[in-house]
């Protein structure tokens, strides 16, 4: 097996003492980020990204991806103990996790959540191990039209699979594209949408937007809710862990379902949050214990956590193999790759084998490290939440400001961050989705480039997008996704 050999080589890269240290540092930082309001996977990594520029890329991506795993774990702690989802994808975990902790079963709920997260991630990593090289090999044959069709499908999926108003999704996405277009046009060299401001020439950096939208916006939202942390105490000892582990195999069918939902939603840009809700809903409907959901049933913790982690992890598959991230956090990681001079996409698997397989191996190890850390240090992380908000809020805003500044060493970026913070607050309250906006901002230029390259090849003939079965098929699927809300509406009327 070619993949197994490559993976073993990856382990030898990832297992150096320095990388192992970074893994534990990353996971710990990630859990803290996941626990704190206002800091999450996407903006946490965006802020820490500039600090990793001096590291070798493999070590840097190992640390950053471990922050991501840590943040995925951390969201569950606040959901179960405080009924406050630390991350959007752990909202569904509160439904049964918090009732369990109120019944004095916090340890059981947390063990179930962490173990399920680990299993979800593990299944997704195994899938990445075997599927990503195949996808990459397949994608080596892609030309600009094929790439554009995949971008097209990605963006149409947001509209087809979004929960809220498709028009708002469209608006948010187009705002992202508009922001991406600001600055120098890569094909003609003309300045676009700068309105005569020199500072706008280099365009908007999506890292700044991410820090503002998710960081400052989240702080404003938490402030409005008047955060009062009154949570239950958590103690996890070995006995509780073993007891819970004995129960979990009973729910194997839930695991299988949730993993499938998670992997699917992660690869297509559905993301971890809808995956967790969908998995909870499906489990409630299909489980024989469906009636007990919402009252503190362990299965109600297992289902969303497995799916969220599976989705969060598999979002890296299209990022690595196609250069198209499946979630805002994956987009930030992609931004990191570009800064280190690595072009994500099919060629990465050929040219930077060591890097890719080191990263994949670190996914196995990082999630294991995460499981160990969260199982042993829950009281410590819960204590972070008891720090009063009047200390945490200014600290997070200072950290965000530093993060925004270090992206380009530009003062103006801190102002942009504040602006995006207010936009994020208003958009969140009015249900404008933020994920498509961020992905459009990241991918806008690349999508436009591939479209225009395709046009250069075909000399301006649009039929190139339906010139063979592959590109035509993807485009057709994209169109179906685009008009899906309309079809649904018409069906509802008939």
């Amino acid at each position: 097996m070619e993949e197994i050999n490559a993976l073993m080589h990856g382990f030898s890269v990832a297992l150096s003492p320095f990388n192992l240290l970074l893994m534990f540092v990353g996971v710990t930082l990630g859990v803290i980020i996941g626990v704190l309001p206002g800091l999450g996977g996407a903006n946490g990594i965006a802020i820490l990204l500039p600090l990793t520029f001096t590291m070798p890329p493999t070590s840097a991506i190992i640390m950053l991806s471990c922050i991501y795993w840590g943040a995925l774990f951390g969201g569950a702690i606040t959901s179960v103990l405080f009924n406050i989802p630390g991350e959007p994808w752990s909202v569904a975990t509160t439904f049964d996790g918090y009732p369990m902790s109120q019944q004095g079963r916090a340890g059981e709920a947390l063990t179930a959540a962490f173990t399920s997260s680990f299993i979800g991630a593990f299944v997704a990593v195994v899938m990445i191990t075997f599927l990503a090289p195949l996808v990459a090999k397949f994608a080596l044959k892609f030309g600009p039209p094929e790439f554009f069709s995949v971008y097209f499908l990605t963006f149409c999926s947001f509209i087809g699979m979004g929960k809220g108003s498709p028009w708002k999704t469209l608006t948010a996405m187009m705002l992202g594209f508009a922001l991406a277009a600001v600055g120098m046009d890569t094909v003609t060299g003309q300045l676009r949408l700068t309105f005569g401001f020199h500072e706008l020439m280099r365009g908007f950096d999506f890292l700044v937007a991410v820090i503002g939208l998710f960081g400052i916006g989240e702080i404003l939202l938490s402030m409005e809710e008047g955060l009062k942390f009154s949570g239950s105490k958590a103690r996890i000892n070995m006995k509780v862990v073993i007891e819970t582990w004995k129960k979990l195999p009973m729910y194997w069918l839930t695991y299988v379902r949730s993993c499938v939902i998670g992997c699917w939603m992660g690869i297509t840009p559905g993301g971890a949050t809808p995956a967790s809700f969908m998995s909870y809903g499906v489990a409630k409907r299909m489980s024989p214990n469906g009636a007990q959901f919402g009252k503190g049933h362990i299965e109600g913790v297992v289902a969303p956590e497995t799916a969220a982690h599976a989705a969060g992890t598999s979002a890296l598959l299209p990022m690595l193999s196609l250069g198209i991230p499946g979630s805002p956090t994956a987009a930030v990681l992609l931004g990191g790759l570009l800064i280190w001079g690595l072009q994500p996409g099919p060629l990465l698997f050929v040219e930077k084998k060591e890097f890719v397989w080191g990263l994949i191996a670190s996914m196995y190890l990082g999630n294991l490290a995460g499981l160990i850390i969260v199982l042993t240090c829950v009281p410590l992380f819960a204590a972070i939440l008891r720090i009063p908000f009047s200390i945490v809020a200014p600290l997070i805003i200072v950290i965000c400001a530093i993060g925004a500044f270090t992206v380009h060493n530009a003062m103006l970026d801190i102002w942009f961050m504040m602006f995006f913070g207010v936009v994020g607050y208003i958009f969140k309250k009015l249900d404008y989705p933020m994920a498509p906006m961020v992905l459009a901002l990241v991918l806008g230029d690349r999508a436009e480039d591939s479209f225009r390259q395709a046009m250069l090849i075909s000399q301006g003939n649009l039929s190139v997008f339906f010139s063979n079965w592959l590109v035509g098929g993807i485009m057709a699927l994209g169109l179906v996704m685009l008009f899906w809300p309309l079809v649904n509406k018409l069906r509802g009327r008939a």
Binding site: T188, F195, I216, A401, L430
Partner: protein, 175 residues
């Protein structure tokens, strides 16, 4: 307005969801129109070798305008679930502004006096004002954070942070 509302002015709605939806949709409509217009002037035609520089931004602007109009109409007719209810209550808005306004002053202070002094003062003032901490605790934490940030960025990672355009307070202590 019921008597209950008058009893707790913090619960009063400052602005409803519907009004906010309309305002945001109008702003987005204007934004889309501006984008479309400037791109049109730049050249939004289909050239010999494919689209010109303003081609995509033009249609992006047009789509933003169209989709905001749809949202606007939905909000005016009140057909979306979002269009009822309160956008923000007075008490909530006070809380939000209590974070937002100092944060904006903080960014202005960074611009003028650099990040270190700004962060120290910001953290300390925030803790004293909103957290009602003893002043020495607040100052101690503010200074500690700034020193840690300085060590981490300027010393270990060699990343220079913003030093202030009016006056650099670090020059006082000879850094």
């Amino acid at each position: 307005m019921s008597t209950e509302d008058q009893a707790s002015p913090d619960k009063q709605a400052v602005i409803g969801n519907r009004a906010m939806e309309i305002i945001v949709a109008l702003l987005l409509l204007a934004f889309g129109a501006v984008i479309a217009w400037t791109s049109f002037k730049l050249g939004a035609k289909w050239g010999d070798d494919g689209p010109q520089a303003g081609y995509f931004p033009f249609y992006i602007g047009v789509i933003i305008a169209i989709s905001s109009v749809v949202t606007l109409v939905q909000a005016l007719r009140g057909t979306t679930g979002q269009s009822r209810g309160t956008f923000v209550e007075r008490g909530q808005l006070k809380q939000v502004l209590a974070v937002l306004i100092p944060a904006i002053v903080f960014v202005l202070a960074i611009q003028w006096f650099g990040i270190y002094l700004a962060a120290t003062v910001y953290i300390a003032v925030f803790m004293i004002w909103l957290g009602q901490y003893a002043w020495w605790k607040a100052v101690l934490l503010g200074v500690t954070v700034s020193v840690c940030v300085y060590l981490m960025f300027e010393v270990w990672f060699k990343v220079a942070l913003h030093k202030g355009s009016l006056y650099d307070p670090l020059s006082l202590i000879g850094l």
